[in-house]
């Protein structure tokens, strides 16, 4: 079914109420829809289908880096700056769940003094709930909702420790990596794969000294990487940061915020001119389809009674499990583009 055929009258009453609330710009309705997404509530899916045509207007900025680097403090300054420029701004702040209890302490709001006191930045805290594949799906869908709601700037803050969480920030249009001169953040950045994803590197806590030295180190590391790069890295070449920038900031003192906003703006401009931004957005959709397929196939593989029947029949006619699985895969591959006529097997 395509978007043009969707009719709100076909939705259940509570889903329609939330959809109308979102259309009227009610933040409570938006918040409830995000809860549905987080909880894997089936009511989220039709809502997303309806709102899909309204997405694509917002800029997404990922902010990642080691815990305590000052990401939230920096986001406080950045979201306030955008708000003051008249940009409708929202933040999704993702933090880990406790592996022991499954609960979480979500404290990013503590740092949002300036943004929350003087502007109406929308802030949603999300716990990763242990499932990191699911987290990427949930944050992606929540960002789509914020986009459809009319936010122009969407910031995704994640802790840059695990690959899955780095990936969430890296799926944005522009990715900002926050580091500090203390405690070997440079080394940690290399280990966590942060050097590969950053469009803008912020050396924060410049008020504590050592920032210039780390900035110079980063400069060298990036230059080295740039020099080692193959002339043609294939179709994914466009996805690699083109021209990483390095900034020094003190989020606590509010220094470097405007420069950060400027660097993000320049990265966007370059990315639009080179075609990288559309490529990134297509990649984001591709990754999302992959994750959804992986989830759906996993469910089908483990739950499908028909599969057992198929295996029984295959065995009965002397087809081994390997040959049967190969044939199944072939059948799925033949349908990867449902709009194209089937390719012969």
């Amino acid at each position: 079914m395509t978007a043009g055929q969707l009719r709100p009258e076909t939705l259940p009453e509570d889903t329609r109420r939330i959809l109308e609330g979102i259309e009227e710009g009610r933040r409570g309705a938006l918040a409830r829809a995000i809860t549905w997404i987080e909880n894997g509530d089936p009511r989220a899916a039709p809502l997303l289908d309806f709102l899909q045509p309204r997405t694509g207007q917002a800029w997404r900025t990922g902010i990642t880096g080691p815990p305590g680097a000052g990401k939230s403090t920096l986001v406080d300054g950045l979201t306030r700056y955008w708000s003051e420029q008249g940009r409708k701004t929202a933040l999704l702040a993702v933090d880990p769940s406790s592996p022991f209890s499954g609960g979480a302490l979500l404290g990013d709001r503590v740092r949002l003094d300036r943004a929350l006191e003087q502007t109406d930045v929308f802030v949603r805290s999300m716990a990763n709930r242990g499932s990191l594949g699911g987290l990427a799906l949930a944050t992606g869908a929540a960002a789509d909702l914020l986009d459809a709601f009319g936010f122009e700037e969407i910031v995704l803050e994640t802790v840059g420790v695990g690959q899955a969480e780095v990936d969430i920030a890296a799926a944005a249009d522009v990715t900002v990596v926050v580091l500090t001169p203390a405690s070997g953040d440079g080394v940690q950045a290399m280990k966590a794969g942060l050097m590969e994803v950053g469009d803008v590197f912020v050396v924060n806590k410049a008020d504590e000294g050592g920032a210039e030295r780390l900035a110079a180190e980063l400069e060298q590391m990036l230059a080295l990487r740039q020099a080692q790069r193959e002339p043609d890295e294939g179709p994914d070449r466009q996805l690699v940061p083109e021209n990483p920038r390095i900034l020094v900031a003190s989020a606590r003192e509010g220094r470097g915020i405007e420069a950060l906003a400027g660097a993000i703006e320049e990265t966007r401009r370059e990315g639009m001119a080179s075609g990288r931004v559309p490529a990134l957005r297509e990649q984001r959709a591709l990754m999302r389809v992959r994750r959804l397929l992986a989830e759906g196939l996993r469910a089908a593989i483990w739950e499908n009674r028909r599969l057992r029947r198929g295996v029984r029949k295959a065995l009965a006619r002397g087809e081994g499990p390997d040959a049967f699985a190969r044939r199944l895969l072939q059948a799925i591959f033949n349908r990867l583009d449902p709009d194209e006529p089937e390719e012969p097997a």
Binding site: R32, T35, S101, G103, A104, L105, L116, V123
Partner: protein, 137 residues
């Protein structure tokens, strides 16, 4: 609906007092019982607390207040919640609140006002017992 979804709680510090040790102890206890706890930080206005509760779609708000201005700030939070259509949220408070004020607040819609030194286990149990009977509308 996913019955296993964690309970979401906002822990807020309205007003001017600068002591949040109690609030943090409660927040940690709730997290250890599997709840997702959003902590607002210090010096929030009733408007900011209610904004946060709405955006975070919490089922519970716990306010900690030691400054003595509870009779100005706490009724205002309740008022704003009702105005915004958020009266399904389980509203509780704690800190230094005299018993007679606590009773007044409970008449105004606070589900429970805990006295100083309430064991965290009691607060956890109260939330677990009461939140299930107040589904999100």
């Amino acid at each position: 609906m996913n019955a296993a979804a964690p309970i979401r709680v906002l822990i807020g510090k309205p007003g001017l007092d600068g002591h949040d040790r109690g609030a943090k102890v409660v927040a940690a206890a709730l997290r250890d019982r599997g709840m997702e706890v959003i902590y607002t930080g210090l010096h929030r206005t009733p408007e900011q607390i209610v904004d946060a509760a709405e955006q975070e779609d919490v089922q519970v708000i716990g306010l900690s207040i030691l400054s003595g201005s509870h009779m100005e700030l706490l009724p205002r939070v309740r008022e704003l919640l009702v105005e915004r259509g958020l009266d399904h949220v389980l509203l509780i408070a704690g800190g230094i609140i005299p018993l007679e004020d606590a009773r007044v607040l409970e008449e105004q819609g606070y589900a429970r006002v805990f006295g100083p030194g309430t064991p965290t286990a009691e607060i956890v149990a109260f939330i677990e017992d009461h939140v299930r009977s107040r589904p999100r509308p």
